[in-house]
């Protein structure tokens, strides 16, 4: 048996199928996974993400600590409540975790880290915090609900007092604030508008039921995965890990190399990577989106055949050298319920090709390279290939 969130008994009562996720017993789905996906794109859904961990950092040198630990720069946070997405790197530039940090004030930040990495993250943060005398507090007393979809904010605000609800609705994207004992943030992992709410664990079941009563669908990790992939968002452990760096994980935009004198963990390694690429010593790898043109379903670890630069077709390159360096790999793949096509993220050598082939059970199927996101605010963001026969 794994670890359980404060909502575990309620998930069982609601008929969820429970699966292991990073050592946690979590709901995969309550009914139809595709039905839950559509509920979020078209109306609203609620997810239990209490397995993720809120960590409060307090101290005069809290900002200094985060400017050392994070590849993105918390100095970009000027207004209280503003959130920043960042990678936390190891010394070799590999991604230890991706996280969101909220700026409370100059001496207080809240960080939300992934479930599968939370113990390692906490140890890493504490190790660096000690020297700077920053207090690290793991908020195991909080549950975290993600309420997502075009109707999510209005339905959540109605459960709050009139003043708090009005303040919640006034939040700009990627801002959060404390309201009547809840921390309400306009963030999410679905490509839709919505809130992530951190609230006392004892309140979580009551709030969940009230959301259900207001027409917000219970949604499991299955729908969360198809929604985030359509939204073009990485999943830690699939799309990046401690042996891949942000530039080959579609996360270069989160690395703040300015100012040049900010000495964050992993910086020398990243600069060495960029220097080697600039000198033509290494071929950069990149994380791209794929949409399958043939029938089938893209899945993680399938092999991607990339045509050599300037050459005609993927098959030619594949014949010449079946296990060549031109190969890439799918890091996340699924059937997209919104697009009714199969989509994926794949790590491939940099290419000027428009198409690749994917080895699915020995068959080479055609896929087009696209720029994620695939879906945003309920709408397709890419041109769809014709429906495969």
């Amino acid at each position: 048996m794994g670890r359980q969130t404060p909502l575990y008994d309620l998930h069982r009562e609601l008929g969820a199928r429970i699966v292991d996720f990073g050592g946690w017993d979590m709901p995969l789905q309550y009914g139809s996974q595709i039905g839950e996906h559509h509920a979020v794109r078209r109306g609203s859904g609620v997810f239990d993400v209490s397995h993720m961990c809120a960590v409060d950092l307090r101290g005069e040198r809290a900002r200094e600590l985060l400017r050392k630990l994070l590849a993105n720069d918390v100095d970009r946070l000027k207004r209280p409540g503003k959130a920043l997405y960042s990678c936390m790197l190891n010394e070799t530039g590999g991604v230890l975790d991706d996280l969101i940090v909220y700026f409370v004030n100059d001496y207080a930040y809240r960080v939300v880290v992934n479930a599968g990495t939370r113990d390692r993250d906490l140890a890493w943060i504490r190790e660096h915090a000690r020297a700077l005398e920053v207090e690290v507090r793991e908020r195991t007393d909080l549950a975290i609900l993600a309420i997502q979809g075009p109707e999510a904010r209005a339905k959540t605000a109605r459960l709050m007092t009139e003043t708090a609800g009005r303040d919640a609705l006034a939040l700009e994207p990627f801002f959060g604030r404390e309201l009547d004992g809840w921390f309400v943030a306009r963030t999410g992992y679905t490509g839709e508008d919505g809130f992530e709410v951190m609230l006392p664990a004892g309140d979580a079941a009551r709030v969940w039921r009230a959301l259900n009563a207001a027409g917000v669908a219970s949604c499991g990790l299955g729908a969360r995965d198809t929604l985030r992939l359509e939204g073009g968002m990485n999943l830690y452990g699939n799309d990046m890990n401690e042996s891949t760096h942000p530039f080959e994980s579609g996360l270069g935009w989160t690395v703040a190399l300015q100012p040049p004198d900010r000495a964050f963990v992993g910086r020398p390694a990243l600069e060495a990577v960029l220097a080697a690429q600039a000198a033509g010593k290494t071929v950069p790898r990149q994380l791209v989106g794929l949409i399958l043109e043939d029938r089938g379903v893209l899945r993680s670890h399938q092999r991607v055949l990339v045509p050599a630069r300037g050459s005609g077709h993927a098959a030619a390159a594949a014949d010449a050298n079946a296990a060549s360096a031109a190969d890439g790999e799918i890091t996340s793949g699924t059937f997209s319920p919104t697009l009714e096509r199969s989509i994926a993220l794949a790590r491939i050598p940099a290419t000027d090709a428009a198409r690749v082939q994917v080895d699915i059970r020995g068959k080479l199927l055609n896929a087009r390279i696209v720029k994620p996101p695939f879906v945003r605010f309920g709408k397709a963001m890419i041109d769809l290939p014709e429906a495969p026969r």
Partner: protein
């Protein structure tokens, strides 16, 4: 509670087998199996003429979350794969014993369903499996 029709035969890997009047058999996956897989989004069925050995992976059913092989319960030659499933894979979820059939096979053996489970045996098997 799973639907297990009395007139079919079953395997431990959750396929069902129906003997048709012309002596060929129709094969699909059980209600229990489709429920465990979740929403199906892609089904690959064998082409007519392919010869199958008992226990051979002969079809693939893919839900949103995973791909699973379907094993041929008997040896024989495929007479048809269900063409409907190319555009309507969800028929396996909604009608696993009817429109959701996967393939029809002309069995090599004279009594092809020998050794397969009856509905009662399959129900008992599901109980012991915790299904």
């Amino acid at each position: 509670m799973s639907n297990v029709p009395a007139d079919l035969r079953y395997t431990r890997s959750h396929e069902w087998i129906r003997t048709l009047p012309d002596g060929t058999v129709e094969i699909g996956i059980t209600d229990h199996a489709q429920h465990a897989l979740g929403d199906l989004v892609f089904v690959e069925v064998p082409e007519a003429g392919r010869s199958l050995k008992a226990g051979e992976a002969s079809a693939v059913v893919e839900s949103v979350k995973a791909a699973s092989d379907v094993y041929s319960p008997l040896s024989g030659e495929v007479t048809a794969g269900n063409p409907r499933l190319a555009t309507e894979p969800e028929a396996v979820n909604t009608d696993p014993y009817g429109n959701g059939w996967l393939m029809r096979v002309r069995p090599a053996a004279a009594s092809p369903t020998e050794g397969l489970m009856s509905a009662d045996d399959y129900l008992k098997f599901l109980e012991t499996e915790g299904g």
